[in-house]
């Protein structure tokens, strides 16, 4: 029987900054399924949830004991590698692998003649060998003949009339789901309108552990796959299963630890399928991990963007209309990962956005931490600052005036105080004397993921196992990408059972365990958190029932608080003692993830402030400080949450200042596919990062959780760009803001 519960949701704490803001908490009434736990609201007192808990697998990772797919090397391991096209557009006319086939220690060779490459990195041959050295020799010996065709490598070239077509369709395609409203009337009537074009570069995921897997046939004919994936249950694609030649039920996928995914690692890719074929043919364990160069070429990327933006408003800072035309490339897949998200934060009466995907001769993009958002927010927040400059109004005041989100209203206040907005924001941009000029800027974030009740392979469930000595284990196929999934499951189970997080053994990352979610879109924590609670609750109820029988009371008379069971008549016992009633086979129960409820706190909020110093002689930007204020629903572990926000900020700065996939425009190949030429941010570039977590009981699920991974990187580039604008008095309208682009912007200002 569903039951109705009324409770308070919204912001937890931060009363001082919330006192002038309406609607930061609300009472809501929800219908709760009988298998779902009571909601934790604003006022719920919790022991472990919301505290600093070191991650439970930290010691494994700090000692090198944690095993990644790349570390799996069973006896008899063989090694697979690839030959791939250096041409963005070519017909593969011949592949001569005769020398490779003749080499001692080469176990199998595959060649793909007759294929058309429409991106550099297209696989044309694959080899499986006894050792990595033999593999290298074999790959180097393969000769490929190409009929090279003309390319359109970059977005602008592919947009030109008469550009070589990548697919059977036109290169430029609208990805608007519906016709946007017409903003021309608003622009005609508006007191103020500003316009600017913004550009962002293609960014590669640059996961440190490359894509790949190790495939092994067991003696009984079943298959074990160690995959570097964000979805153990979603990894075995149809193509992969065909390559293995066994049914899905015979395939076990394991991801105990994985070295970064950021959206690029879900289902098995062609190289994984080739690895599977080699394993089937050789009946030996085979490992195939991409090289760093291939990782940059085909391991996924964030589409670039060209955004022509216009913003109209009143003289007193009220937005009236936003209009924009965006183009971005998703590589040779014309599809919808391109585009720029920028309409969901501020109150803007009319938004007319025309979004276009442009096919180019490069490998397809992939979901990358907050797809479409960093690029969209960079342009949106930049045009807002331009508008604020135009009307002579403080950029933060403009945001406060147009931001309808009560939590973000609080966050703007917190962030402004911590960056010292009043003291550090230059009233006149670029007014510092001397060569080094400083400024501060800000930008908003949003996300809105409360998790799901369905995962790969069915309804999300979690097992809870209790042994008669009181020890507890939690099981799910969900994987921990380094976000702290294991740890938050331990914390939640411990909270429910009156234990400490280290007393809970979390077994995850294995398809032998119950169905769990893939880790994308910041859905993992809010999906797995509530069901972990339900599983622990089932275990507690089961132990309570054993006690009730023992004590001769009704089940409902057994209470539980702080690790102690009690019943009327002064009966009381600890968790560990009560568990002695469990039989020798142990107790195994299962929790189910129920559907989300609904709540006014649908969107998570965030904002970031950056302080930069710009050397106007060299054009070098130094980010000195970032204040990042984020809501992710209820924060379960403030320590791992802070790590995630640090990571979002650092990736965001890296995106704003350093990262760019450079292509040879004539041939289409990537010219900087190494970590010394494709720069990601290092520790020397790292500013002070002040993370403020504004926990919100979201009202969407029993702990009130939402996702955090993505929103932490949404606003960073925009905040840094606005700080640069404040420092030098001119906008750098292209990411990354390299020294050359900064100097060019300064020249434009003087000219």
């Amino acid at each position: 029987m569903p039951r109705e519960v009324t409770y308070k949701v919204g912001l937890i704490g931060h009363e001082q900054h919330a006192k002038d803001v309406e609607g930061t908490t609300q009472d809501i009434t929800v219908q709760i399924h009988e298998l779902d736990a009571e909601p934790w609201g604003v006022d719920t007192k919790l022991e472990h949830v919301g505290t600093e808990v070191p991650r439970v697998d930290g010691a494994l990772k700090a000692t090198g004991a944690a095993k990644y797919s790349y570390d799996m090397q069973p006896p008899g391991l063989t090694f697979a590698g690839l030959v791939y096209s250096p041409h963005a557009h070519a017909q593969v006319t011949a592949v001569d692998a005769s020398a490779a086939k003749a080499m001692k220690g080469v176990l199998a060779v595959k060649t793909m003649e007759g294929q058309r490459a429409t991106y550099p990195g297209k696989i044309v041959a694959a080899v499986c060998a006894e050792s990595e050295a033999i593999l290298d020799d074999a790959l180097a010996s393969i000769r490929v003949t190409y009929d090279v065709r003309p390319v359109a490598a970059v977005t602008e070239d592919a947009m030109k009339e008469g550009a070589p077509q990548v697919t059977g369709r036109k290169n430029v395609r609208s990805i608007n789901r519906r016709q946007p409203p017409d903003a021309s009337k608003a622009f005609t009537e508006a007191e103020v309108a500003v316009q600017a074009d913004y550009r962002t570069a293609v960014q590669t995921h640059s996961c440190l552990e490359p894509h790949g897997c190790m495939v092994m046939f067991e003696a009984d004919g079943s298959v074990t796959v160690y995959a570097s994936t964000q979805a153990t249950a979603g990894f075995a694609s149809r193509r992969f299963l065909q390559a293995l030649g066994v049914p899905r039920s015979q395939v076990r996928v394991i991801t105990q630890h994985m070295g970064g995914g950021f959206g690029s690692k879900f289902g098995a890719m062609e190289w994984d399928a080739l690895c599977a074929e080699f394993a089937r043919e050789t009946r030996r364990p085979v490992r195939m991990m991409l090289s760093r160069r291939m990782e940059h070429l085909v391991g996924g990327n964030r589409p670039d963007s060209i955004q022509a933006m216009e913003l109209a408003g009143t003289r007193d800072g009220r937005f009236l209309a936003l209009r924009g035309r965006t183009h971005g490339t998703y590589g040779n897949a014309a599809g919808g990962g391109a585009g720029a998200a920028n309409t969901a934060v501020y109150r803007i009466p009319v938004t007319e956005m025309h979004q276009n995907a442009v096919a180019t001769f490069s490998a397809r993009g992939a979901a990358f931490r907050a797809p479409r958002h960093p690029q969209g927010f960079y342009a949106l927040e930049s045009i807002i600052d331009r508008y604020a400059g135009e009307i002579g109004m403080d950029a933060l005041a403009v945001r406060l005036k147009n931001d309808p989100h009560p939590i973000r209203q609080v966050q703007w206040r917190i962030g402004a105080e911590r960056i010292g907005w009043k003291e550090n924001r230059r009233a006149k941009a670029g007014s510092d004397k001397g060569v080094i000029k400083r400024g501060v800027g800000c930008a908003a974030s949003r996300w809105g993921q409360a998790g799901r009740h369905m995962g790969f392979g069915g309804a999300v469930k979690v097992n809870c196992l209790v042994e008669r000595d009181g020890s507890v284990a939690i099981e799910s196929c969900v994987q921990d990408l380094g976000t702290g999934t294991r740890t938050l499951m331990a914390i939640i189970a411990a909270e429910e059972l009156g234990l400490t997080p280290t007393q809970v053994d979390v077994r995850i990352g294995d398809t032998r365990y119950p169905p769990g979610p893939g880790s994308g879109g910041s859905t993992t924590a809010p999906t797995i958190g509530p069901v972990t609670r339900n599983a622990a609750l089932r275990a507690r109820e089961a132990i309570g029932a054993l006690l009730a029988a023992e004590w001769g009371v009704a089940d409902h008379e057994v209470g539980f608080a702080r690790g102690t069971f009690s019943a009327p008549g002064g009966k009381s016992t600890t968790w560990a003692k009560a568990c002695s009633l469990v039989g020798p086979e142990g107790l195994r129960v299962q929790g189910e993830r129920r559907r989300n409820w609904s709540s006014p706190f649908r969107e998570t909020a965030g904002c970031q402030f950056a302080q930069v110093a710009v050397d106007t002689e060299t054009g070098v930007i130094t980010v000195e400080k970032v204040v990042a204020v984020h809501d992710a629903g209820r924060i379960v572990d403030t320590m791992t949450a802070r790590s995630q926000v640090n990571g979002g900020v650092i990736q965001g700065i890296s995106y704003a200042l350093y990262e760019e996939k450079h292509l040879d425009r004539a041939g289409g190949d990537m010219v900087n596919p190494t970590f010394d030429t494709y720069r990601i941010m290092g520790i020397q570039d790292c500013p002070a990062i002040d993370v403020v977590l504004t926990s919100v009981a979201s009202g969407y699920n029993n702990p009130g959780m939402m996702g955090l991974g993505e929103p932490a990187t949404v606003p960073t580039a925009g905040a840094v760009a606005n700080a640069v604008y404040n420092a030098i008095g001119v906008q750098v309208t292209e990411l990354p803001m390299t020294p050359a682009r900064v100097l060019a912007a300064l020249e434009r200002r003087q000219g």
Binding site: A62, R143, M639, T640, S643, T674, I683, C686
Partner: protein, 207 residues
């Protein structure tokens, strides 16, 4: 970590590390890369080894390990397989990211840029040699306590760089010294602030 962009001839976009070392003869290539081995290179003279496997005795984490290696094989490859020390990670393949950082005679080095044959006779320490989950080194303990890791793939390298900084500077270790020590390590998850915290905390504890 193998694949080739083929046209015939070496891959474009720069030599791989193995291609660079291959056939160079062990002694020639490594001296420039690897300062602390200069003495050994001199003693060995200009003779070449290989191309087949040659027996090498490596002193790793205090134990002598006798392994046959090809002269072109890097120390990283030999540590990971056959020695099964998978703490040091292969990532950039060209001495940029520091995920394979180890110590040779107590000094940090990129294992991907050292030939295994050159490392013979030197004390090699990997992250596994610092401590284990049941007996953590003070720096490893601080990495856990301050969450100086996320996905963890770069972590062994950072631990080795930080542990060296702690060993060198002791209690006086500064923020800037930690950054210098880790300037050759890359982390994609963005864990740097916690790495600095952890190293400073470990130094205070008297690592």
């Amino acid at each position: 970590m193998a694949d080739k962009q083929s046209e015939g001839g070496p891959p474009r976009g720069g030599l791989t590390r193995r291609a660079l070392f291959k056939g160079a003869g062990a002694a020639a290539a490594a001296g420039a890369v690897f300062r602390s081995l200069e003495g050994a290179a001199e003693e060995a003279g200009p003779r070449s080894q290989g191309p087949g496997k040659v027996p090498v005795t490596l002193k790793v984490n205090g134990a002598e390990r006798k392994v046959p290696v090809e002269p072109r094989e890097t120390l990283l490859e030999v540590l990971r397989l056959p020695l099964e020390l998978t703490g040091p990670k292969p990532v950039c393949d060209r001495g940029t990211c520091g995920a394979c950082t180890i110590w040779v005679d107590g000094e940090p080095a990129y294992a991907c840029s050292v030939l295994a044959v050159e490392a013979a006779g030197h004390e090699i320490t990997t992250v596994e040699g610092l401590g284990n989950p049941d007996a953590l080194h003070v720096v490893q303990e601080a990495f856990v306590a301050h969450d100086a890791l996320q996905c963890g793939f770069c972590t062994p390298g950072f631990v080795m760089s930080c542990a060296h900084a702690v060993k060198t500077h002791g209690k006086d270790l500064t923020d800037a010294q930690v950054r210098d020590a880790c300037a050759g390590n890359l982390c994609r998850c963005g864990t740097y602030p916690h790495v600095i915290k952890a190293a400073l905390a470990a130094a205070k504890k008297g690592g």
